[in-house]
Amino acid sequence: MTRETALLDRTIGINTTPSHLLPTHPGSTWQETVVRIPVPDHQKHHRPMDAPIPHLEVPGLHHRSVTEIIKATLTDQTAAPDYHHLPFRQFWKRKSGAVESVCDELYSSEAFIQEHEVIQNLPPEPGCTLERSVCALMLWSDSTHLASFGMASLWPIYLLFGNQSKYSRSNATRRTCHHVAYIPKVSFCIFSLQVFNLTSYMPSAP
């Protein structure tokens, strides 16, 4: 039990994670925003004298700044040894002498190499001699069930860096997967009612 508690402390970041990265910390970089969705109301909204487009407001989107995550990762000493600023190509020479290109990581992929070359060839800022580096963002999102029983679930958006090896990205303890947002869920009943209140029309069935 003591060991599990210590593990939990370490995971939630006591003494290890900068506290401003925790969603519950008062100085955290997490923000809560109301999402505004324009709703069709069968009216025209072309001219300035037309009524404004009705917006459905969905509260409770928790999110972090993507630029803050990029800055935090690039300045993080523990992530640095595994972070590739420069792409490269890998080849495997068979016993027969044939040479094959090895495709494994995003930072050694053609897409990354091409993007790297594009930014190296951009015209320089006057007097600037700084290195230029591609930061490969990999975003994904899916609903996550929190328990084997019950309906508790979250809809997160994650951010991973293609500059890091897929072996560290798939390793949960390396903390290479960053949480960008938690999307609020709206039940269809509430959604229908709110849209009806706004527009006097019922939305079509899902």
Partner: protein
């Protein structure tokens, strides 16, 4: 979902996306960092 992305890809990120960010990296070298979205895989909330 599009409205959510509109919130996340804020002015700060769009400025970095268009005009790069200058970061002093953990190895002590200051770099121009070009954020590029390489992959996006998502299961959209049921419509």
């Amino acid at each position: 979902m599009h409205a959510v992305w509109n919130v996340i890809l804020d002015d700060d990120f769009m400025h970095a996306y268009e005009h790069v960010i200058i970061i002093e990296c953990a190895d002590g070298i200051t770099r121009h960092v070009y954020p590029q979205i390489f992959t996006y895989s998502a299961d959209y909330p049921e419509k």
